[in-house]
Amino acid sequence: MISIGFDDRVKIGLQYVLDSLHLSCPFGQERVRKLRFYAPDERKELETELLNTERTAAHASALRDLFERITTVLCQLKDIRGSLKRLTEGACLDSVELFELKGFLLRIAELGPLFDCMNGTVHAEGIAFSDPTGALNVLDPEGTRSRGFYLPDSASETLRAIRAEKRRLEQTLYAAADAEKDAIRAARTRVCALEEDEERRLRAVMCAALVPFVPPMLSDADAAGRLDLLIRKAQLAVRYGGVRPEITETTLELTGMINPELADLLQAKGRAFVPVSIAADRGAVVITGANMGGKSVAMKTVALHVLLFHAGFLVPAKAARLPMLHCVQMLFDDAQSMQSGLSGFGSEIVRFNRALSEVEQGYSLFLLDELARGTNPDEGAAIVQAVTQHLNGLNAISILATHYDGVAEFARAHYQILGLKNVDPDAIRTELSAPGADGVAVIARHMNYGLYRVEGKADCPKDALNICRMLSLDPAILARIEQAY
């Protein structure tokens, strides 16, 4: 079963996506808080959800006004499930609770036709609202359909008589002499107590009559939550571009994917996220490249897409083919490991073991970012080579990012960060020679964080040396570095 902690959600940018949804009703908010990832044996349900989302997204701009009206109603829904539970336990609800139930039913009565109107175009499956008329008739026997809750005099002959007496006493009170007032007040207090008793009895009768309506009301609350999330998923897909992944048996293929959080961050700085593409299957894939952050971003974006897919979202990519997975495990650089008492390396190995035993339970995705980065390069390389060989034999897709040499040849596939590969060094040098140029910023601007697939044996990228040249490292030192290469 897929489960992912809050820290990892934040790290891969899933939390950013979820926070940007802004669900309208408590039932929708709960769906996001307890996000459900469909398991491999729920393929049918996931397919339905993905299709629903795709259809809704396709009509998102045409149905904008309708969505607006639906979310306005959703915003007014309150969580009445506590009162519903009390109803089934035989409790007598107070008038404010009955007011809230009536409010809920009135809003469902509005929501039903709006949803039908939307679904005439969208054809989403599995969402339906019940007709609340029966329950409303219990709460509003006179059929006023006003927003308020009031037990009318007509609710019982007793109530009518009590209230008439209460009114009569009040009128007498106004006209009475001071000496008589105390007696009238005492009589009035008794009548008020009678009124309270009769109202409680009537509310108890009402509550008993409402019990059969509890299941449809719970199902309406659930439908409201699903509709809420569906609309927000569709709007998200419109915002970042979204594609419905084709479900495969084992292959993972993501083409032109973006990471919304980083894309927004870069856009705020006037730059753009370079879409990343990657393909993998059972076995290990290795991503190499100078240590510039591009490798981690690629892996996190893969994790984000796989998780969004399992939660029934369209994924922000040009094309996607994804398998249903037993679990997703990720080992990213983690500041928390410092707190565990073990050294960084020690805790990394402990976490690796734990993740590995989870991955062995079923076809999974295993992401490892710079495993053994803290050890010396010789030992580190040996460890990562061995792990890569082992992961190749596992029933899982494993993706490893590393800058150790000699790992890629053990992998099923090898990706490299484009980096400065296709950049004209002269162009950069010209830019750098401009007065006041910020060397690091210029290089960052030309750095291509995209991935390309390396066929056969590849040389190590020489970006570190290139960067030294561009930033005009002391020529004597440069000469020595070149000799060593």
């Binding site: 107070d94 008038s95 404010v96 809230e100 409010g103 308020g148 809750f149 009031y150 009040e170 207090t189």
Partner: protein
């Protein structure tokens, strides 16, 4: 009750009733107002909890708030069983209080209500708007104890100040402090606002001879400036009367130096009510007390215990 005052009260859309202390007669005033304004749909609420039938602090019997049929009132959910009017639940405000969410109820019969409204002034403002949208013609706010929100225009258009023997055993003290509060409530509204500046108050005054005080105005802020002479003939503007935390003594000194104190935003003090009976056992002579307060303030003074004309 003087007819002109009654007309004035009727013309104020949102009235808050502020007490100098507990047992100043606020609830009596509120009941009187409800009687006087008979025939209008009123919206009623309080700042925080008020309207208990027995005073929790002193144990004295307190009058309940009696409302006519049709009145709208806002109170915490747990207070509803203590209200004996026939209730129509009109809406739930979403404002939480320790006694439950604040609920707006329409009284479908006359009867007693217990008020426990929002304690944040911005929520009171929203609630007033809600009352008007539900058909209220005038809103009364029971201002509870303390002067936190005293006279903030954002809450009410007009203020009734209730004072009484419960405040202090010495009548002179009650009169003097009441007069001081009235003076603060009656501060002139600023016609123009001093330019905003980041300079320290003393420097700002040196150049412009006027300044806007963003926070509270306190004795410790002004006394050094008074000594240095920087305040002479200056103009100080505060947001609203609740920001003025000056002792009567400092206030007098300001007047002597020709300092003008103004407010950006203030409710109007409409009248002062006096309650000559203390909850703690002593009583002032009603006429002497009323006359003394009337001498010290510039608005009408009413004895809450007097029968209305």
């Amino acid at each position: 009750m003087l007819p002109p005052l009654l007309d004035e009260l009727k013309a104020i859309r949102t009235l808050s009733i502020v007490g100098m202390c507990k047992n100043a007669g606020k609830t009596t005033v509120l009941n009187r107002l409800i009687e006087w304004l008979d025939g209008r749909v009123l919206g009623l609420t309080s700042i925080g909890r008020d309207g208990e039938s027995t005073d929790v602090v002193t144990g004295t019997e307190k009058p309940g708030i009696f409302v006519p049929e049709g009145t709208l009132f806002a109170t915490a959910k747990d207070m509803l069983p203590l209200c004996d009017v026939t209730q129509e639940i009109v809406c739930a405000t979403g404002v939480p209080t320790p006694l439950g969410e604040v609920i707006v109820v329409r009284a479908r019969s006359a009867g007693f209500v217990q008020l426990a409204g929002p304690s944040i002034t911005s929520q009171l403002k929203t609630l007033s708007a809600l009352f008007f949208s539900l058909g209220a013609q005038q809103v009364l706010i029971d201002g509870a104890l303390g002067r936190k929100s005293l006279g903030a225009r954002s809450v009410a258009d007009g203020v009734i100040l209730c004072t009484g023997a419960s405040y202090d055993m010495r009548m002179e003290k009650v009169v003097a402090d009441t007069a001081n509060i009235c003076r603060i409530l009656n501060l002139k509204k600023a016609e123009t606002l001093p330019k905003e500046t980041d300079l320290p108050l003393a420097d700002a005054l040196k150049t412009a001879h006027e300044a806007q005080i963003s926070g509270a105005l306190t004795d410790s802020m002004l006394l050094p400036l008074l000594k240095s002479g920087a305040l002479k003939n200056a103009r100080l503007v505060v947001q609203d009367p609740s920001r003025v935390l000056l002792s009567a003594d400092t206030f007098d000194k300001l007047a002597l130096r020709g300092v003008t104190l103004e407010t950006v935003d203030a409710a109007r003090l409409v009248c002062v009510t006096v309650n000559p009976v203390s909850a703690y056992g002593w009583t002032f002579d009603p006429d002497t007390f009323k006359a003394a307060v009337q001498c010290a303030v510039h608005v009408p003074v009413i004895n809450v215990k007097e029968a209305i004309a």
